[in-house]
């Protein structure tokens, strides 16, 4: 029983972190219909920024992550404004290709600049844990989880309540109409991509604190974002959060009760079953699933 509780708690915490990793990916996909294969690269880049901040200025990673967010926001904005916007009207899979090229450059670039050494941002407290009976709640992950939820709520508020946010939503629904209303689509797209990259950077700094990273870890984060975004569904800002928590729990429970590494197959089985019976994802909106995409 205590094993079950422990797995549940850990799964939820892990899920929250995954949600933060994926929320930007989901946003970009939902608004611009771009599947960003460089997303994992942004996450790891964020981790490196956080690491550098900690190494050189002694900045705590939970503060350093704001620097990561800022750096990645600018990076993302520039990328979208001057590169991805160039092909946004091309066939859909062209953006996939473009971001794949970007991913190659970012990952190999990090390899050259930072080397492939494994790193971790060391803090005095992140590995400590609170004990509730036999169940342990690790402090670093708890903080990361709380931030992930808070940031998702904040993102929803920004998107639904501010002019900028509404212009992002409007552009995502009908770009032509939005432009007629005087919305600068180029800027809005760049903004969206910047926000997504910034959130990825933030998630990266947290991952760098609770785990280990090197450039080749990027691919697995892109894959996880893919799964989480689809599982939750597009068009609902809470989608990534729901998707992340579900995957976190499924993996934790599966790991607890299945032999070998069958748990990994289980996560994908859940994904496929959800897609077959509820193709819009758990909380996604039908519009985004029905949209002619390919």
């Amino acid at each position: 029983m205590s094993g079950f509780l422990q797995a549940t708690v850990y799964g939820l915490l892990q899920g929250g972190l995954l949600a933060l990793v994926a929320v930007g990916f989901s946003l970009v996909w939902g608004v611009m219909n771009v599947v960003n294969l460089a997303h994992g690269g942004f996450v790891i880049l964020g981790a490196y920024v956080g690491w550098e901040m900690h190494e050189w200025f002694g900045l705590d990673p939970f503060l350093g992550m704001f620097v990561s967010a800022a750096v990645l926001f600018v990076f993302g904005y520039v990328l979208q404004r001057f590169l991805i916007n160039l092909v946004i009207n091309g066939p859909i899979f062209i953006t996939l290709l473009l971001t794949f090229g970007l991913d190659l450059m970012i990952v190999q670039g990090m390899n050259l600049v930072f080397s492939a050494d494994y790193r971790s941002i060391k803090t005095s407290y992140a590995s400590n844990s609170l004990a509730f009976g036999s169940v342990r709640v690790p402090l670093g992950r708890l903080l990361a989880f709380a931030l992930a939820v808070a940031i998702t709520v904040l993102l929803v508020a920004v998107v639904n309540r501010t002019r900028t946010g509404l212009s992002i939503l409007a552009t995502g629904m009908d770009r032509g109409a939005a432009r007629l209303m005087g919305i600068r689509a180029r800027h809005v797209y760049a903004l969206t991509f910047g926000i997504a990259a910034g959130l990825a950077g933030m998630a990266g700094a947290m991952i760098g604190t609770v785990g280990t990273f090197n450039p080749s870890a990027a691919a697995s984060f892109t894959l996880m974002s893919f799964v989480v975004a689809v599982l939750g569904g597009l068009g609902n800002m809470y989608g990534a959060l729901v998707g992340g928590l579900v995957i976190g729990l499924v993996q934790a429970w599966g790991g607890q009760y299945l032999p070998g590494t069958w748990v990994n197959a289980l996560a994908f089985l859940v994904l496929i079953v959800v897609l077959i019976f509820r193709p819009t994802g758990l909380v996604g909106r039908a519009f985004y699933a029905a949209r002619q995409e390919v």
Binding site: Y10, Q14, A116, D117, S120, T212, G260, T261
Partner: protein, 409 residues
Amino acid sequence: MRSRTLAVAVVITASSLVVAGCGSKGEAKSANAAGSGTLAIGASLSLTGSLAREGVLTQEGYQLCQEKVNAKGGVDIGGTKVKLDIQYQDDTSKPDVAAQLVDQFNDKGIKLILSSYGSANTEAQAAVIERNGQLMVDSAGADNKIFSKGYKRTFAVLSPATEYAASIVKAIAELATPKPKSIAFLSADDGFSKTVTEGGMKAAKAAGFTVLDPQYFPNGTSDVSSALTKVKGQHPDVIIGSVHLVEGVAIIKQAKELGVTPAGFGESVAPPTPDFAKTLGAQAENVLGSSQWTDATKGTDKYFGTAKDYAKDIQAKYNHAPDYHNAEASAACLALVLAAEKAGSSKADAVRAALSGLDTESFFGTIKFDSTGQNLYKPMSVIQIQNGKALTVWPTESAEAKMIWPGTK
């Protein structure tokens, strides 16, 4: 119209194919022709992809070997000194590319090969080596499976996978007081790690420990919480991880998070690498690890001197403490050089014969191969992280420090 586009395409296709194969079939030119003044050796390395970290360490080892040998004037082949020339190619951490590279080296007439990193890459290479009549010295493919296939042209300087965890078990059985009773193995699910686990479990049973069911997780994962939660309830006295660096770090980190506190941790591969202590800081303290090489290894050779000299050279050249991956690579290169000198030839068959009869001391310890090509004569060392340094604690005759037990407070 369409057909004209096609015509252009056909020409482009055909010409690009021709460019891909510039040269004519027949006997490939020999890269080591007499009088060329160099001994060319091919090395495929994982410089990009998931094994990039280990690939770079391997390259450093090969490179240092080349410099050391050339600083003494080169390889003495039948009285003429020729410069060592190691040619590197990136196999992108993929076994099929690593195997393809061996074929490409063969095209260039390069018959002497130094292996890539990891058992999967090496195994893929060994099959091609055998077919092409080349010769490979394996620096990092430890899985015993590679040597069970009857290959005659692959020689490994390192101790086989079965020894990685077994040596930790032996060290604990010999040195730990109070003697722990139960051991749990946590293992990555790749071939190498599974062989490590099998070897470890066998040794543990032989030493009279209670061995719990092994727990597996995917190779390369940074989340091993499920495996840890499962063993937590069983309260093992010792947890041994058959892992690589990422999973090894994850076990220590997440065990702390989850409050899993055996009397001690031991892990293969991860602890002796400098990244381990750097990444974990204080949490790395007292973790046991098995190492192919430490700077306390006994033995000396004419190119590298002693193990301590080797450590100094790596530190000076690459500005980090030596890693056993460095040493394995240098030792593989050294074995090839010594065999070529002994044979007085750079021909694959002659060097092969010399390698199989090689019996020498080196900074890496004894280099001597059994009939399958494994170096069974070199023991593995067990190290313990003490004050941030990996110190040899077993075997006791080369120990630099006493094993601290229990390792966790």
